[in-house]
């Protein structure tokens, strides 16, 4: 059946545009055919005539021919031979197409070029016998059908806008990021996250080519006569045993204005081997150039030299303050619910703001709109389950996913100091969407995650993310739509210890935010798209509440005053294509931050370091009082010049402001880190970045290569004085210092995402340097010189590879090398308090040994029968195949009076893993 479809497609692609009528004269043929198989019959005919016969033996099957012909015309012989069968033939020049079930149409419908749109019926009639009911024939039928768009308006030189919506024919979910282009003029666009696109085409006939990852490439014949709409169903890519790969237009990296942007879909994410075998969104993001972390078990991402708190992590629309479970070993996102991940490192769209370094947008799937389906998976540490289906067929759907762990056994294997530890987590996702009508769609998203662990037996830590958001998409018309989003995000943690009854306590922290966002998208013309909108975000933080636990506890209640603020932004951005080669996007975002009462603010002597001794007094502000306002414009500029369809140059400049900061003086980001709002004593962070990139695609766009360079400055980044107290500090400004930072680097990427062998190799050279040289601010670090940040790893090479032996068996290999991270090593030793102790001086002057790791995995899928109820798959692999003891840290401790140095590796040997998944 499939071969047949491709023949049809092939034939149509080759000849549909040629209008040549069927041959009237027919050569004469002779022969006595008795019980001759149809293929031999056709071969004999071919020998007797100058015609080429096209047919598929398998398709025609065991039909036998019983005719006698003596110098009869070919057509007559064929008519006789195929009488009473469902075999059809069609002539085109010297070619004869033999098909079963339906006839190849070699002519175009009447009026095809006349511009009359009312003979749609004639077109539909060209394939009269759609007997098979499969999706394949439907789609091939759809591909051949001429779709008339718009009333016949304007003259032949006018251009019209087609508004389209692409959905997955099987699940009814919108297809985002699909490429839509005109086959001849190459004009193209991609669908947005809701599956919508706008394309401007000149009047006349066009072949629209539609491509998306995980979907079958398809086409639509359209006759554009005016502005109009088109709805397209794409068939999901069922693993075909042989298929035609059309990969001519996959050049969005060349065409888009975005630079420093990476998009990874869940399929790619699932191929990358990770420790414990559970597909991990954040670990794959870490393999992208320019993204680093302090070490294996740490949560934070450091994007282009930014700190871990400088990334805006959005799960659908919700801000996730702690994106990890279990000390950073797992990311907080259930891979069964995630659809794809977008990371913006440089040209951050104007609609995003509030963080200096990056935006990581994690999009979840919408749920199957046709049938109830689901997946379940079992791994060594976690199990997961998800269920999706229609609430109202084709109109609304839900997806619910849950994950839980049983990891205590693992902790017993950790180093001695973690013995008797316990840890557990779970997370739940729920998405509901409903299409009210063609113009209005609503989305409801909920997310809940909870972690609880104790690292040694007496103190228990727990943290939780809670998010809910509601979104309404409204189309005013085909060119103009709006998104209105509102929601609530909360992150909290608590610690409690009850071993010592006198000191038994609980310590709680939470951050709450409610937001309202409107976004407008106006597609003015093929040359220009304008986006604008308004965001506002109300923060309420409880930076620490320390409470007694139990009757005998003498602990005094110590509650930090709550903090509240309003962060708002107005933005507009304009994308303008001067021509196919040159386009520019300019964005301006004006952000405003109001620190609100009630609050008591400390005052310090002007020009003096903020210390307790220099504290001059306090001012009490009442509720809702605007205590301090910060704000300013943020610029987002990017430009692209395409030298050829496969080679472009892009440049960008952007500035960012950040009003919320993490207080942490640990090397890795800890779940118990406290977030702090800017206030009259703590200035917002400010950063800008200039970047330049070259993009070249090779081998018909199947290989993408890029080189990007960047230079970034950071101002008023928070660092800490030696021995700073961060928890329950009522005058935190006395313990922090504002530092300056600079980061620069080159990122090289070669990426191949199609074919049997796919994957990417990236190399990054980057430096991140910080500097604190203002003696008036208190302490200077390293004598006021630049010093490397904790995550400054100059060289970084990553290889991610996947080789598909068959459609059911593939192997993945990844390898990563990076320079060891900087650490502060002791410079000397002294005897004090009964023991030899270490003396530290220059911060981050040494490096731990280099990091190298190779992981391997095999993905084995069960059979691919489309209609079976359950689809199984196994992932088996080894993390850190070479067993290299990559150091996480090097440290020196005084033990029994002497100084001992140790190197701690988190995963110091090869770790095998296995995962079982079932899809139903």
């Amino acid at each position: 059946m499939k071969t047949f479809v491709y023949i049809i497609i092939f034939v149509c692609l080759s000849f549909c545009s040629a209008a040549i009528s069927q041959q009237a004269d027919s050569p004469l043929v002779s022969g006595d055919f008795k019980n001759v198989p149809v293929d031999s019959f056709l071969v004999q005919l071919e020998q007797q005539t100058h015609y080429h016969f096209y047919f598929d033996t398998a398709q025609l099957g065991a039909v036998k021919i019983n005719i006698t012909a003596a110098s009869q015309p070919l057509k007559t012989v064929l008519d006789k031979a195929f009488a009473n069968t469902n075999i059809y033939y069609a002539f085109h020049k010297n070619n004869v197409f033999i098909t079963k079930g339906l006839q190849v149409q070699t002519t175009l419908p009447q009026g095809f070029f006349s511009g009359k749109g009312d003979d749609k019926g004639a077109v539909a009639n060209t394939i009269p016998d759609i007997t098979s009911n499969t999706a394949e024939s439907k789609s091939s039928a759809a591909e051949n059908k001429l779709i008339i768009i718009g009333g016949n308006a304007g003259n032949s030189t006018d251009r019209f806008t087609i508004a389209g919506y692409i959905k997955d024919a099987k699940t009814g979910e919108p297809v985002m990021g699909a490429s839509v282009s005109d086959q001849d003029s190459k004009a193209g666009t991609t669908t947005d996250q809701y599956g919508y696109f706008l394309l401007t085409l000149p009047k006349g006939h066009h072949t629209m080519v539609l491509q998306s990852i995980g979907m079958r490439d398809t086409k639509r014949q359209v006759l554009v006569q005016g502005d109009g709409t088109i709805n397209i169903d794409m068939q999901p890519q069922v693993m075909a045993l042989k298929r035609v790969i059309v990969s001519s237009e996959k050049a969005s990296n060349i065409k888009s204005l975005q630079m420093g942007m990476q998009k990874i879909d869940i399929k790619t994410i699932k191929q990358v081997p990770v420790v414990f075998g559970e597909a991990d969104v954040l670990k794959v993001v870490l393999t992208m150039p320019g993204v680093k972390s302090v070490g294996e078990a740490s949560t934070g991402l450091n994007v282009r030299g930014g700190a871990a708190d400088q990334n805006l992590i959005l799960f659908n629309d919700a801000t996730i303050y702690n994106p990890s479970h279990f000390f950073g070993l797992f990311s907080a996102f259930n891979p069964e619910v995630v659809k794809d991940v977008e990371l913006y490192k440089a040209s951050i769209p104007a609609r995003y703001g509030g963080r200096l370094s990056s935006v990581l947008a994690i999009n979840s799937r919408e749920g199957n709109k046709k049938d109830l389906s689901g997946t379940a998976g079992i791994g060594l540490l976690t199990s997961r389950f998800n269920l999706e289906g229609p609430l109202k067929k084709d109109k609304s759907s839900f997806i619910i996913g849950a994950r839980a762990t049983y990891a205590d056994w693992l902790l017993n294997l950790l180093p001695d100091q973690y013995k008797e530890s316990k840890a557990g987590f779970y997370d739940i996702n729920l998405n509901i969407n409903h299409e009210i009508n063609k113009k209005n769609t609503i989305y409801l998203t909920g997310y809940l995650s909870k972690d609880r662990f104790n690292l040694n037996s007496d103190t228990v830590y727990a943290y939780s993310n809670q998010n809910v958001s509601f979104k309404w998409k409204h189309l005013f018309n085909d060119k103009f739509y709006t998104l209105i989003t509102t929601g609530f995000d909360r992150y909290d943690y608590s610690i409690f210890s009850d071993r010592n009854p006198v000191n038994a306590y609980t310590l709680g922290f939470n951050i709450n935010q409610g937001y309202f966002r409107t976004h407008f998208n106006y597609y003015k013309s093929a040359k220009q798209t304008i986006e604008f909108g308004f965001n506002t975000n109300y923060y309420k933080l409880h930076p620490g509440t320390y409470k007694p636990l139990g009757k005998s506890s003498l602990v005094n209640l110590d509650a930090m005053q709550p903090e509240q603020a309003l962060e708002s932004a107005l933005y507009i951005s304009d994308k303008y294509n001067f021509n196919t080669a040159f386009s520019i996007e300019g964005g301006l975002r004006y952000s405003l931050f109001n620190y609100l009462g009630p609050s008591t603010v400390n005052h310090y002597v002007d020009g003096q370091p903020k210390t307790e001794d220099n504290m001059t007094g306090k001012t009490v502000y009442s509720s809702a009082k605007f205590i301090k306002t910060y704000g300013g414009p943020e610029v987002r500029l990017s430009g692209r010049y395409a030298f050829s369809p496969a080679f472009s140059l892009k440049a960008g400049y952007n500035t960012q402001r950040q009003y919320i900061h993490v207080l942490s003086n640990t090397a890795a980001m800890a779940p118990t880190d406290i977030w702090k709002l800017s206030d009259p004593n703590i200035k917002p962070q400010y950063g800008d970045q200039i970047s330049l990139g070259l993009y070249k695609n090779l081998k018909s766009n199947t290989i993408e290569t890029s080189v990007e360079v960047y230079y970034k400055r950071i101002k008023d980044y928070l660092d800490y004085k030696s021995g700073a107290v961060l928890v329950l500090n009522h005058h935190i400004e006395t313990d922090v210092i504002n530092t300056k930072g600079k980061a620069y680097g080159v990122e090289l990427l070669v990426k191949k995402l199609t074919g049997k062998m796919n994957g990417w190799i990236s190399y990054t050279y980057s430096r991140t340097l910080l500097k604190m040289d203002d003696p008036a601010a208190g302490e200077v670090i390293n004598g006021g010189r630049y010093y490397p940040a904790n995550y400054d790893k100059p060289h970084d090479v990553t290889f991610i590879g996947n080789y598909r032996f068959t459609h059911r068996f593939s192997v993945s290999l990844n390898a990563t090398y990076s320079t060891g991270r900087p650490i502060t090593l002791p410079v000397g030793r002294f005897y004090y308090e009964g023991a030899y102790r270490t003396l530290y001086a220059d911060r981050n002057a040494y490096r731990i040994p280099d990091y190298f790791r190779t992981d391997f995995s095999m993905n084995i899928e069960g059979n691919h029968k489309v209609h079976q109820r359950f689809h199984n798959s196994w992932t088996i692999g080894v993390y850190n195949v070479t067993g290299r003891k990559n150091p996480y840290s090097v440290y020196f401790v005084s033990e029994n009076g002497v100084v001992n140095g140790y190197k701690l590796s988190i995963f110091g040997s090869a770790i095998p893993f296995i995962n079982y998944n079932v899809r139903f």
Binding site: L554, N556, R829, F830, T838, Y846, S894, L904, S909
Partner: protein, 379 residues
């Protein structure tokens, strides 16, 4: 699934690891002055110890600073000299400091550098109310109890030393005969008297962990510090155990300094390590202000409390460590220098040893775990 799990778990057993790390040899010579000690506000002598920092890996154990001029100064310019008594320890006369004044230390080293500490107010240390203990999880937890009715002390440091008496499980009644020429064991012979000199011993330990307590967040200035936990059936309590706890009140600054010292040198090696930081102090070099000085000189006093715990106060607590002995034939191949003969099992005739008991020397010779010299204060 079960079948697959078992080997995997076995492999996973070894995955996280900690290895000894040898630091780079190229560490710089520092030689900063290290000032340790406190100005005694408790009507006694003050002792200040002066040493120098060394390279991280250095053949010298400790470099003492000799022949410095050290004096205590008060705000009214009165000075009280300290004299070097032994290696780097400078001791004053018994002083009666005025609690209303602030004091500092003033050091002039032989190379001409002058150092002073910040003037610091006098802290009085409240006495230790008691040392208590109770059985917890089968072991013994010892607590320090103290309070300050005026709620002004707030920051405490505790140090302790402990001594316990213990006995060898086996008494040595026979011994190897050593050939004086070849130094080889040639036989076993009975001792005229059992060797009691290695039967009963004492062991003293002074842990060097910095123990800090803050009552800052408590409604009362009350210390309830679990200072020492003795594991179930631990040898410390096999006969008689003694603990001596010393308590010091700290200024807030001294508390922060010691906490930083503790974090830098004891509390490392976790996943969320705080970053080690430069260690200042309240002593500064006035002749070369950029020179780093290590140390914090507080004005405080020492309070001591003691406690004995007798094995009889406990129930079901063994009086010796678990040990076993075995019988061997009196043959040259059984003369193992790593085992110790204890007593005869069987004779041949009247005096000839046919077979005898041997045990691990640690079960016989108590001096391998302590000293057989009874401490002066021992009852």
């Amino acid at each position: 699934m079960k079948k697959i799990y078992i080997p995997i778990i076995a492999v996973l057993l070894f995955f996280a690891c900690k290895e000894v790390f040898n630091p780079p040899v190229t560490s710089a010579v520092t030689g900063y002055l290290v000032v340790e000690g406190f100005i005694n506000s408790g009507n006694g002598a003050s002792t200040i110890k002066l040493t120098r920092t060394t390279k991280l890996v250095d053949s010298a154990a400790t470099i003492y600073e000799h022949n410095a001029q050290v004096k205590i100064e008060d705000e009214s310019n009165a000075t009280y000299p300290l004299y070097e008594r032994d290696s780097g320890n400078y001791v004053s006369d018994n002083l009666f400091l005025n609690p209303a004044l602030k004091y500092r230390i003033h050091i002039t080293t032989t190379n001409g550098d002058e150092y002073i500490s910040d003037f610091t107010a006098v802290k009085q240390t409240p006495p230790i109310d008691s040392i208590s203990w109770k059985v917890e999880n089968g072991g013994v937890q010892i607590y320090v109890n103290a309070h300050d009715a005026t709620n002004t002390t707030r920051y405490y440091q505790h140090k302790y030393s402990e001594t316990w008496e213990f006995q060898s499980p086996f008494i040595k009644r026979i011994t190897y005969v050593i050939d004086p020429v070849s130094s080889k064991i040639i036989g076993v012979t009975e001792l005229p008297n059992a060797d009691t000199s290695i039967f009963k011993c004492w062991r003293t330990q002074t842990p060097s962990n910095i123990l800090l307590t803050s009552t800052e967040k408590l409604s009362e200035d009350k210390v309830f510090l679990p200072i020492r936990y003795i594991e179930p059936k631990g040898g410390e309590l096999s006969i008689l155990y003694y603990i001596e706890v010393r308590q010091y009140a700290l200024s807030h600054e001294a508390y922060l300094f010691k906490q930083k010292l503790k974090k830098n040198t004891e509390q490392l090696g976790t996943i969320f390590d705080p970053q080690p930081s430069e260690l200042g102090g309240n002593v500064h070099c006035i002749t070369n202000p950029s020179q780093q000085v290590v140390g914090f000189v507080d004005v405080t006093q020492e309070q001591v409390a003691k406690l004995f715990i007798n094995n009889k106060e406990l129930t079901n607590w063994p009086q010796t460590i678990p040990c076993s002995e075995e019988v061997v034939e009196n043959k040259p191949e059984n003369y193992d220098p790593f085992l110790m003969p204890t007593h005869v099992y069987e004779y041949i005739g009247r005096n000839s040893i046919k077979s005898y008991y041997v045990a691990d020397p640690i079960c016989v010779d108590c001096t391998l775990r302590g000293t057989n010299v009874k401490p002066l204060f021992w009852p």
